[in-house]
Structure formats: structure tokens, C-alpha cells
């Protein structure tokens, strides 16, 4: 098997506050292969965005990566000096943020921003970089790119601005794109266009994509695999078809149950009771245990690790078939 583009091992991210240290990410591991789209879902505060920022090295103090390893195509990148990680940002890892309306500097023409980024990473002349910028704008679907390159951000609609942001993210042909809620701020019809654009770019260039979102529809549409995050941990990870149609983890089940369908039944949507614990009050054992319908004693003391279960990996004691559980079962 080839080396995955991105490999995250036991990642831990902490935020130092005046009172205590909050652990926002606690032992997250996943891989993304070349050309693969990994969807990362979860509620607000589950640690999705922080994971993305940790990969690209943009966790600002008081936050810090306190443990684990991050490998980009086999090279460890999590504790490189700032100057070296800066060279990787934008060149080998591109990032797309949530709000295209505020991602671009309002005082510079979009062409200048693209050319600036290209020339930071690639050894090109001003004219060559400009030509490349026009090609990029054409590739992301901006009409008349040779004219629009001299426009200012405010002269574009939200969807068009997100296209510009994507052009900026891919301008140095990165191996990995981290898209942090790229469609949340857009209206539905534009969302579909942006998603198919990201998908197409991933396919055409063999770029690996980490797609952070809380929109299951977007995940089902785009991703090859999906990771469900809860309280800074991965609850379940597996191929998108399997996880969406046959979720194992009670939280993932609840999440999938909360997706409205067009099938027309007038049922209330299922909701998961309670809310995600605050970082300062994560319960011992499984963080989901206070809300879980299938909770049993072990969940309150013992933290489940993600274990392979068919095509999925799931962090839940219900699916732990390890030997130390076996005697109990035979006794019962």
C-alpha cells in the first residue's frame, strides 16, 4: 500500500486557560489517501475545525499540539519550525475557510492576491504568475477570468468569492486540501456547485481532501470516507455508504437519524437528548455516555478506543469483542 497523503496519529490539542488546560482534541487518528475525500462531521465544538487547523499548523496560542504525530506523504510535519511549516502551507496543503465574504483581503484585487500567493511558493515571473492566475480562475469556473482578475473581492458574489478562495488554495498544486465548512455560508444552489467543483479538482489533480462540515448531505455527496467526531475524539470512521446507511456508534446513529428525508413521512425528526459536554466537563469513560441510550457500567469508567469492526472503526464498548469481555458474556 502506498503512503497516505495525510496521516494523523493520536493527535492531541490543548488550550491553556487561566484556570486549567482544556483538551480540545484527544487521541485522533486517521489517514487520507491520494485522491480521497475524507468527510469530517460532528456538532459544533466537536473538534473538527481544530483538527484541520492543527494539520496546517495554525493553532495559535494559547492552543498547542500537545501530543501525537502528523505526517504529510510520510514526512512528519507537526513540530517543524514556523518558517518551514509556512513553506508547506499554501504549497503542499491548501486551506479553504467557511466564509468567502471575509476570507479575501478587501483592499487588494483578487489577481494581486493570487499572484502574491503563487510567487510566494513557485519561482515564477510576474507575467507567468498572472497567466497562471487567469488559468486557475478559469479552472474554478470564473467567467471571463482575464477581465475579472482585476476586480476587487466586493465585486463578486459569495459563490464566486468561494471559487476565488478555492483558486487560491490550489494555486501551488497542493497534495492536500483542507476545506473547513466550505459551503456553510453559501445558499443551497451555490453549495452544490462548490461541492462538485471541489470534487472535480480532487479527481483531476489527485488531491486528497479533508472536508470538514456538519452537513451530512454534503458528506454523502462528496466523500469517500467519513469520520464522525464527538468531544474531540473520533466516534466512528468508515466508508461513507456504510456509515450513512449502517451507522454503528449510538452517536452516529443519532446523527444519521436526525437527517430529514424527502420521503414525506410526517414524523418528528429524531433528536439526540442533551448536548455535547463542555471541554471543561467531559465525563470520564466514553464522553457520549450521559446521552447514550445503550449506556452500561463500563462506559462510565473506561474510555473506548476506535476498534475495527467490518469496514468501520468504531469507539464504542458495544462493539468491543476483545477477549477480556468474552468471559463475562459466556457467564451470562
Amino acid at each position: 500500500m502506498t503512503v497516505p497523503v495525510l496521516s494523523v496519529r493520536n493527535l492531541e490539542v490543548e488550550f491553556l486557560t487561566r484556570r486549567s488546560t482544556l483538551r480540545a482534541i484527544n487521541g485522533v487518528s486517521f489517514d487520507i489517501a491520494k485522491g480521497e475525500v475524507l468527510g469530517v462531521v460532528g456538532e459544533s465544538g466537536a473538534g473538527k475545525s481544530v483538527t484541520g487547523l492543527a494539520v496546517i499548523g495554525l493553532i495559535d496560542p494559547p492552543g498547542r499540539i500537545s501530543g501525537g504525530e502528523i505526517y504529510l506523504s510520510g514526512t512528519r510535519i507537526d513540530h517543524l519550525p514556523p518558517e518551514e511549516i509556512r513553506r508547506i502551507r499554501g504549497k503542499r496543503i491548501g486551506m479553504i475557510f467557511q466564509d468567502p465574504l471575509t476570507s479575501l483581503n478587501p483592499l487588494y484585487r483578487i489577481g494581486d492576491q493570487i499572484v502574491e500567493t503563487i510567487r510566494t511558493h513557485l519561482n515564477l515571473s510576474e507575467t507567468a504568475a498572472r497567466k497562471r492566475a487567469i488559468d486557475l480562475l478559469a479552472e474554478v469556473g470564473i467567467p471571463a477570468p482575464d477581465k475579472r482578475i482585476d476586480a476587487y473581492p466586493h465585486e463578486f458574489s459569495g459563490g464566486m468569492r468561494q471559487r476565488v478562495v478555492i483558486a487560491l488554495a490550489i494555486c501551488a498544486e497542493p497534495e492536500l486540501i483542507i476545506a473547513d465548512e466550505p459551503t456553510t455560508a453559501l445558499d443551497v444552489s451555490v453549495q452544490a456547485q462548490i461541492i462538485s467543483l471541489i470534487k472535480r479538482l480532487g479527481r483531476d489533480h489527485g488531491t486528497a481532501v479533508m472536508l470538514v462540515t456538519h452537513d451530512m448531505g454534503v458528506i454523502a455527496e462528496t466523500s469517500d470516507r467519513v469520520a464522525v467526531m464527538y468531544s474531540g475524539r473520533i466516534a466512528e470512521i468508515g466508508p461513507v455508504q456504510d456509515v450513512v446507511q449502517n451507522p454503528l456508534h449510538p452517536y452516529a446513529k443519532g446523527l444519521m437519524g436526525a437527517i430529514p428525508t424527502l420521503a414525506g413521512e410526517d414524523k418528528r425528526l429524531v433528536q439526540i437528548p442533551g448536548s455535547m459536554p463542555r471541554l471543561s466537563a467531559i465525563p470520564p469513560g466514553c464522553p457520549f455516555n450521559p446521552r447514550c441510550a445503550f449506556v452500561f457500567d463500563r462506559c462510565r469508567v473506561d474510555r473506548p478506543e476506535p476498534l475495527k469492526h467490518g469496514s468501520h472503526a468504531v469507539a464504542c464498548h458495544l462493539f468491543d469483542t476483545a477477549p477480556h469481555e468474552a468471559p463475562k458474556e459466556t457467564a451470562a
Binding site: 502551507r89 486551506m95 475557510f97 479575501l104 483581503n105 478587501p106 483592499l107 484585487r109 478562495v165
Partner: protein, 326 residues
């Protein structure tokens, strides 16, 4: 853009007319001007002659129209105390004030921006704490006290710099400049610092606050995610966005630097318009006071206009809103 400029220019003229009314009414409210010109024992007939020669017997609107028409041509009448046309007096004094104000503003801008940027980027260094202490002093100490302290230190104790006046000046056309002689430059140092210190601290605090704000924005985060160098992010992207409000404040402050140069000019006996104004107040020399009022308003209105136009140069978003007024 042209329509915008024109609209603003018309507004400016409106403001100037309003100020003209106030300046004109000063003549009437401060007593009969004739009394200030003639001596106590002048016969009544002679008084009437003076009144007639000055046109003071015409109806008020006529007098106002005449005053305004003259003012528009920079004719502000004759000073009671100097017996010279006010415009000559002002023209003579203006270079001194403008030079002082320009030096103070440049000083305030350069050091204010540098210190502001530094203290925003290096938040916890000793130098930042020092800058903030200086800015506290600059904001809270009154101008005259700073001037007097400087004089005490550098003129009286150390004897390095002159304590008053402009030093030697060079005449270029009608303009006199102290920038070309050593004594002129030396004389300029302390008044510029005194006058500029307040603006400098104001700009420093503004730049620091704005810069911290801008550094938190999404486009700066995105610029970092694009892997731009720290230098390009701080000085290319962040600083330019910081400067939009700084231009407003610095512009308007330039107006108040000129207007409030009065105190600095008095402390350093600087032969500018401010000193002339203070003397005029002491001698109830209304033509000078009225002219000064008009001049200062003109400067403020002009600066406002320039600042409005400058905005559109810095911020492209305003250009299109101006084109299509909502």
C-alpha cells in the same frame, strides 16, 4: 466620482457660509467697531464720517454681503491694533504655523504608526510597555506643560536648543521657511514635539487597536493559510487595512494641530497665526479674530474634503458605493 467630489465641495461651501455668518456677527456683538477705531474724545461728526467710510451705515444684509465678498477674496479688513490689512498679517504668519503643524504631523504619523505597529505585533516586550507609558504621558499631560518641561530641560539646563522664536528664516517668494537654516531647524524641534506628542500617542493607540483587530480577521488567517511570509502579512495585508481609520483621524488632527497651535505658539513665542490670534484676543482686534475663525474653518473643511477623497483611493469598496449611491 466627479459627482461625489462636486457634492462634497458644495457642502463645504455651505459650511463656509455658515461660518462666515458667525464671523460677521462677531463684529456686531462685540460692540460698536467705530468705538474701537476712534479715540475717546473724537467728535460725533467725525465718528459718523468713519462709520460712513467703513460702510457701517448700510443695512446689515448689505454689510454681510460685502464682508463675505471681500472674505472670498481674502480681504478681511484692517487690523485695529496694527493698522494693516489682516490678510497681509495672516500671510506673513501663515508659513510659520503651517511649517510647525506639518512637522508636528509628520512626526506624529511616522512615530505613531511605527510605535503602534510594533506594540501590536510584539505585545509583551519591554519596549511596548515603554511606548504605552509614553503614550499615557502624551495623552494626559497638557501641551503647555510639556512645552515648559522641554524648555526647562533642553534650553535652560542643557542649553542645546533655543527656547523661543523661529531662528533664522529664508524668504522664498512670500513664503518664509526655517527649514533651510540650522538655527531654524533647531528652533523647530521642541515646538514640533510639543505640538505633535498628543497626536502621536493618539495615532499610536489607534494603530495598535486597529492592527490587533485586523490581525484577528478571517482574511489574515486565510493569508497565513496561504503560506505568505509574516512580513507580507503584517506589512502588506494588515497595515493597509489598518490605515483606513488612521487617515481620517490623522487628517482631522492636522486641522486641530493648526487650530490648537495657539498654545504651543504662545509657549515658544512662535511667530505664527496662533500667536497673532492670542494677541488679537487680548486687544479685542475683531478683524483678526474673525479672519482667523474663517481661515481655520477653511482648513478644516478642505482637510475633510481631502480625507473623503483619500478614502476612496485606499478602499476600493467605497468607490463603487459612491458610484451607486444607495
Amino acid at each position: 466620482m466627479l459627482a461625489f467630489t462636486l457634492r462634497r465641495a458644495i457642502q463645504a461651501i455651505g459650511v463656509m457660509i455658515a461660518v462666515g455668518v458667525i464671523a460677521f456677527s462677531m463684529f456686531r456683538f462685540a460692540g460698536d467697531p467705530v468705538n474701537q477705531i476712534v479715540s475717546l474724545d473724537t467728535p460725533a461728526a467725525e465718528r459718523e464720517a468713519v462709520r460712513k467710510s467703513l460702510g457701517l451705515d448700510d443695512p446689515v444684509p448689505v454689510q454681510f454681503a460685502r464682508y463675505f465678498a471681500n472674505a472670498a477674496q481674502f480681504k478681511f479688513g484692517v487690523s485695529y491694533q496694527f493698522r494693516q490689512p489682516v490678510s497681509n498679517l495672516l500671510m506673513e504668519r501663515m508659513p510659520a504655523t503651517l511649517e510647525l503643524a506639518a512637522c508636528a504631523t509628520v512626526l506624529a504619523m511616522v512615530f505613531g504608526i511605527l510605535m503602534g505597529v510594533y506594540s501590536a505585533l510584539r505585545r509583551d516586550t519591554i519596549l511596548t510597555k515603554f511606548f504605552q507609558a509614553v503614550s499615557l504621558i502624551g495623552i494626559s499631560l497638557p501641551t503647555f506643560l510639556i512645552g515648559i518641561l522641554l524648555i526647562y530641560l533642553f534650553s535652560v539646563t542643557l542649553g542645546w536648543l533655543p527656547s523661543f522664536g523661529r531662528g533664522e528664516v529664508v524668504r522664498i517668494g512670500w513664503w518664509t521657511t526655517g527649514l533651510l537654516t540650522l538655527s531654524g531647524l533647531k528652533a523647530l524641534i521642541m515646538p514640533s514635539i510639543t505640538l505633535g506628542l498628543f497626536q502621536m500617542t493618539l495615532i499610536m493607540r489607534l494603530v495598535r487597536a486597529e492592527m490587533l483587530e485586523v490581525l484577528r480577521t478571517d482574511y489574515i488567517r486565510f493569508a497565513r493559510a496561504r503560506g505568505l511570509t509574516t512580513r507580507a502579512i503584517h506589512f502588506g495585508h494588515a497595515l493597509k487595512n489598518t490605515l483606513v481609520p488612521v487617515i481620517t483621524v490623522a487628517g482631522l488632527q492636522f486641522g486641530s494641530v493648526i487650530a490648537f497651535a495657539i498654545i504651543t505658539e504662545t509657549v515658544f513665542q512662535w511667530p505664527g497665526m496662533g500667536l497673532l490670534f492670542v494677541q488679537a484676543v487680548q486687544n479685542v482686534d475683531i478683524p483678526i479674530m474673525a479672519a482667523y475663525l474663517l481661515m481655520v474653518s477653511l482648513i478644516f473643511v478642505t482637510i475633510n474634503l481631502v480625507v473623503d477623497i483619500l478614502y476612496t483611493v485606499v478602499d476600493p469598496r467605497l468607490r463603487s458605493t459612491i458610484r451607486r449611491p444607495a
